[in-house]
């Protein structure tokens, strides 16, 4: 290969590394003015786990708005900045148009007019509350499986509005402009009231109005505590030793001084409103120092998670996978060796990011790689890419790279959509709280899914390629070898994974096999893979038939992965969303169409039967 070609084969990957470097630099850059970067790294407890404000903000925005950004020219630039605005300048935050309404009936109920962006702000929706609340109550009393799209949309909007309101009360009390002085005043007044109350108990003369004043203040603070679900103040020991901001204020009365966290948030709020970046950043620094001494683990984890959020390695991987795919495709037309090698290297860079992302998640959660639907998508892509890379090293024809990048990109896209419904680093419920089975059953069965999808994708390449004319012998034999090999692996992984699931069930509730929809789905994958192999060994199908069957494997696996969750019954039921059902159906129909392509016979002389490998 000429020097120019060799250079190109290294240049393209080098450009990718530059791209990544610039993304990392952008993510780790300190902000000018108000230090939202370090603000985002502050740890709080929400949804049962310690997480940085950055994750809290991002997940809320994803859930409410579907994106991590806020629209508007003067909008906060980062999710953490938005959270600060929400808590410290709620009047402005309420004007941000982040609540989408797509359903016409719902729009009609709110009496709003159709906006260009289809998104509305909290202040626009506030007048609609008297109309929304009774509807939400009515719908909430019925079974969620029976809700119409309008009802689903309304309940989602109500849930998001509630979440928004709760976040608003997490770090500050709306309407209070000078929190630090209010807090300090609170301490002295309650202290004084307690002294008066002691006088009363001792039978001495006491000041009634002091006590009344104090009790109305206390009521305000207690009400405040019911309006948020975020625990901001670390006190006591362990994961449960966190208090909400209003509760920590009440706790402070006993100690006679504000907790450093309570003080910090009040100062941050005041500084924000005064647009005083020096005060804001110094309050931040003081609190960080306290955290470093008293809660170093929480701070370290939060910082790592914030960095992870900012770099967003999975999105970077997606870009690289697209590039790898394009290089691989073009390598079949032009500059074969150069683009093939470039494609593989770009794939590997993307894969490294993918792996680092996976490892970071494992570290943050303290768990094996697959713990929920989101992480299963990440891992399926990861597993498929490893297998395809092995195939690519074996066959060296860019097919492995092409398939790897397609599966990698698609699964990361699915993962992104799954992340819209909540915190992807959520805690594991009791029955799943066992790292051993998560590491064995879940990982192995996910590899089974990954390899069945991989075989199906390679088969799609074969069937589509076939439309453009007879496939040359070497390519056909390599595709055939790949599909056969991957299906063998898929049989092994899906069988062992399914049986390990049964053994886990036996350890957990004494029943190896319960005919649960998810169990049945996994069994279908095992049986289908076995059918393909037995049909091949029995000479019932040849090359083309095997490819068609492998594509059907995609349908079976997607049924098991997503379809079984949508039935609303069994142990793995996550409920039914219209969007997921729609895309699943589209996918399955597309696979059927590809299979149909395969059923069209070739014209011309009969192809001699290809060598069939019998076992043993």
């Amino acid at each position: 290969m000429s020097i120019l070609r060799k250079t190109t084969a290294w240049l393209i990957p080098a450009l990718c590394l530059l791209f990544i470097a610039s993304a990392v630099i952008k993510a780790t850059r300190s902000s000018t003015g108000l230090d939202f970067k370090n603000f985002g790294m502050l740890p709080v407890v929400s949804n049962g786990r310690v997480q940085p404000l950055d994750s809290l903000a991002r997940n809320a925005l994803l859930s409410i708005h579907g994106k991590q950004g806020v629209p508007g020219d003067d909008a906060p630039a980062t999710p953490a900045a938005w959270l600060a605005e929400l808590n410290f300048n709620p009047a402005l935050a309420d004007t941000r148009k982040i609540f989408p309404i797509h359903h016409d009936d719902l729009l009609g109920l709110t009496k709003l007019t159709r906006d260009e962006e289809k998104s509305y702000s909290y202040s626009q929706l506030l007048p609609a509350f008297p109309a929304l609340q009774p509807e939400a109550r009515r719908i909430g009393a019925t079974d969620s499986k029976t809700w119409s799209p309008y009802e689903n949309a309304l309940m989602l909007l109500t849930r998001n509005l509630t979440r928004y309101n709760q976040l608003k009360h997490a770090l500050a009390l709306p309407g209070q402009a000078h929190l630090e002085s209010e807090f300090t005043l609170f301490l002295t007044e309650i202290g004084a009231a307690l002294a008066e109350s002691d006088k009363q108990t001792r039978g001495e003369r006491f000041n009634e109005s002091t006590m009344d004043n104090a009790s109305s203040r206390v009521r305000i603070v207690l009400d405040w505590a019911t309006m948020t679900e975020v625990y901001t103040t670390p006190s006591g020991n362990g994961a449960d030793g966190w208090r909400k901001l209003p509760d920590s204020l009440t706790d402070s009365v006993e100690k006679g001084a504000l907790h450093p966290a309570t003080l910090a948030y009040s100062r941050l709020g005041d500084a924000y409103r005064a647009k005083d970046s020096t005060a804001f950043n110094s309050a931040l620094k003081v609190y960080r120092a306290w955290l470093l001494e008293n809660r170093p683990d929480s701070l370290r984890k939060s910082s790592a998670e914030t960095l992870f959020n900012a770099i967003a390695p999975f999105y970077l991987s997606m870009v690289l996978y697209v590039l790898a795919f394009l290089c691989a495709i073009f390598s079949w037309l032009w500059l074969e060796a150069t683009l093939r090698q470039a494609a593989f290297r770009v794939l590997l860079i993307g894969f490294t990011l993918h792996t680092l992302g996976l490892l970071t998640r494992m570290m943050l959660e303290g768990r094996p790689p697959v713990t929920n639907l989101y992480s299963s998508a990440i891992f399926i892509g990861w597993g498929a890419i490893i297998l395809s890379s092995v195939l690519e090293l074996f066959h060296r024809n860019a097919i492995g790279t092409a398939v790897a990048s397609v599966v990698g990109f698609t699964t990361l896209l699915i993962a992104h959509h799954l992340s819209l419904s909540g915190d992807t680093l959520e805690m594991m419920r009791a029955v799943l709280d066992t790292n051993f089975w998560l590491a064995t059953h879940v990982v192995v069965i996910t590899l089974g899914y990954a390899s069945t999808f991989l075989a199906g994708t390679i088969a799609i390449v074969y069937l589509i390629r076939r439309v453009y004319g007879k496939i040359p012998q070497s390519t056909a034999s390599s595709l055939r070898g790949m599909v056969y090999g991957v299906i063998c692996f898929a049989t092994l992984a899906s069988f062992v994974g399914t049986v390990l699931g049964g053994i886990w069930a036996d350890q957990s509730w004494g029943r190896f096999w319960g005919w649960d929809p998810k169990e049945n789905g996994a069994l279908l994958i095992v049986i289908w893979n076995a059918i393909i192999l037995h049909a091949r060994w029995g000479g019932m199908v040849r090359e083309r038939g095997m490819m068609v069957m492998a594509v059907f494997g995609n349908i079976v696996t997607s049924w098991s992965w997503f379809g079984t969750n949508m039935l609303g019954i069994g142990l793995h039921s996550y409920g039914f969303t219209d969007a997921a059902f729609f895309w699943l159906s589209i996918f399955m129909i597309s696979q059927v169409l590809v299979m149909a392509l395969g059923l069209i016979r070739e014209r011309g002389p009969m192809v001699p039967p290809d060598p069939v490998e019998l076992p043993g």
Partner: protein, 387 residues
Amino acid sequence: MAFRPFKFFSSLRLTVTLLGFAMVLIFVATITQVELGIHEVQAKFFRSWIAWWDVMPGAKKFFIPIPGGTLLGILLIINLLAAHSARFKLRWNKAGMIVIHSGILLMLLGEIFTGLLGREAQMVVNEGQTLNYSTFPREVELVVIRPDADGLETVTAIPQARLKDGAEFPLGGFTVTIHSYYPNSEILPESEATEKFDKTRATEGLGKGYAVRRKPRETVDDRRDLTTAVVDVIPDGGKSQGRWLLSNAFKGEQFFEAAGRPWKMSIRPRRLYHPFSIKLLDFSHDLYLGTDVPKNFSSKIKILNPGTGENREDLIYMNHPLRYGGLTFYQAGFENNDTTTIFQVVRNPVWSLPYISCAMVGLGLIWVFSQHLIKAIARRNKISPTP
């Protein structure tokens, strides 16, 4: 073409066809589960010879028959054994396939024996309570109890299978006769009863003033039948001394006098007594802070066995069952504001078969597929030695 049975039963075509039918069965059973619930589906699809598949969605029904689980299982076993005796002589290079298929056979047998020998029951214990029996939540028994001296009781337990309209149970001096039996029912005070309710009324006991009506059996998984029987107590050679309404809806027994002694009776979930007792000392249920996601459930218990003299504490929690007395106790649930624990009590003498089978099939598959891979690499190296 003449039908040659051995060739037919040992053919790969049969294997593929049977496996294909198995997929159809499993898929249809999964979909049907939404409507019918798991127990019904298991009986209709997996433990049957022929399963009926309702292909018309909606109110109208149109059933087509497909092979049921039992039929498919038996044919697959025959096919497996026939194929092996035809093609796989006991040779070393066939060892992989033999191990794989033996493992699968073992697993199928394991499931069959679990179905026959296994038994699942529940133990519902309140904090501070000591219990020496498990209950079967889906079965009831009609018990007639005679308190004896020394606080002991003689219990006559009539299994649900024997409860029918008109059944008679002579108990020495009198007979308990079932006037009407309702496998599932609704019980309402008389004043609220509509025409759908039976006219029969109890004259004694807790059921006085209530009316009963028949209901179809519950199929949804987390609902239980309300089993009721209207019974007469008839002393030998005399007339009915009263009519009682017995039901598992009533907590506690109902009293009557017969043959000169006090008795009590009730319908309750079928019990299985053990030679030991379990006392619940404390049930704890931690949630993740600020959520209702359970972090753990655990039951601190005491095992009391007068036979062996045991009196020891133990902890049962998720993924950590207690194995005792040939039974395994799993933390299954809880109720009453975290003061009652529910254990799943399982007897399964063949529990180890799936573990052995998994190991055999897994190792067998790895062995066979590695051989393929090695051959493939060797073939490739012969064609084009690596540059």
